[in-house]
Symmetry: C2
Subunit: 205 residues, 2 copies
């Protein structure tokens, strides 16, 4: 398997397969089929078989996929067979929601710190986190070798904050600000913008 | 132009183009190129030209795209040249963030109501919204001809709540619960799950 030749579009679907497998595993199911996965996810069974076969032979004719085995392989491929510390930058509504979110557990991530630059917020408690000053952010990122940040600052501050994160060593940014940010080629950015998802659906209404 | 033949993958990129164009327009820029858009978004200029050409001839050789004209066309195509009322279901952290979010303005959407089923929350004020009981949700959806809902309930309640929304007439659901939901073929679902985005990036780290 040569990681370089797997198209990004397939990589993007693997987390969705993994989520569906975890959902089945939580119900106590032990094997599944591309048909069943397809119905859960809303992708064709043929597409799922094709995507998964890129990484080796997993399914057995007639018996389907072992959920535990396929989960383990996907977790290894996506490098979430470990736990990544992730910081949250911006302690507004979205930052609060991320600090409280319990959907990270067992999926490879743990929120480790929460930052803001508002003197009225710094030092306050959000769940189990004390809001830290963005003045110490670069230092904390370096000390703790943080590679992943969730950016939940206002759009007007997003680029400047992203620059600080990148300079401190962050290599992956999940950007909640509704604005495109520029980063060097070796830094990955994904966007969470409810409006782009909504607009994608209104096309069909 | 036959809407049926435009692949969904292209439709999914149009909101991202629209966001970048609005970003440029807000800076007072009047024309742009596929090259410039590509740099903002991180997609190749060739891909952008190809996608946009599906909908007609927009660019002029040498002068590029008129931002106002292309924005207007994309807004029409995506049916966001109007304002859609959207309801928020679930008044937890994510529901609060969505009720306060100011990124919907000028992008085709307006939060119109906020629902929860917790008696301790019903009647409370979140920004300009009073939290309404989910017991009156179906009735309010029908009365106001709501077609779009943002689902921010716990995973354990997501399928049941989605069923209620669909029965009341909702045709598009933006699901924040980290679980796949089943809906009829004529209902559209998009997912906002930070973990799938994070996992897509850890593959490359």
């Amino acid at each position: 398997m040569n990681a370089d030749i797997i198209p990004d579009i397939i990589i993007g679907r693997l987390p969705v397969y993994l989520r569906a497998l975890q959902q089945l595993a939580e119900r106590g199911v032990q094997t599944t089929s591309s048909q069943e996965l397809g119905e859960i996810i809303g992708i064709s069974a043929a597409q799922i078989r094709k995507d998964i076969s890129q990484f080796g032979e997993f399914g057995k004719q007639g018996t389907g996929y072992s959920i535990a085995f396929l989960m383990e392989r996907l977790q290894t491929i996506l490098q979430v067979d470990r736990v990544w510390d992730v910081i949250v930058v911006g302690a507004g509504d979205v930052g609060h929601a991320l600090a409280h979110y319990n959907g990270f557990a067992n999926r490879g991530f743990r929120v480790s710190m929460l930052f803001d630059n508002d003197p009225n917020k710094i030092g306050a408690q959000v769940g189990k986190f004390e809001i830290l000053s963005m003045e110490v952010m670069a230092e904390k990122i370096k000390q703790n070798k943080i590679k992943i940040a969730m950016l939940a600052v206002p759009a007007s501050a997003a680029q400047e904050t992203a620059d600080q994160l990148v300079k401190a060593g962050v290599k992956a940014i999940l950007n909640y600000a509704p604005i495109s940010i520029n980063v060097p080629d070796d830094v990955h950015v994904q966007y969470i913008d409810p409006v782009t998802h909504l607009q994608r659906m209104t096309y069909y209404l």
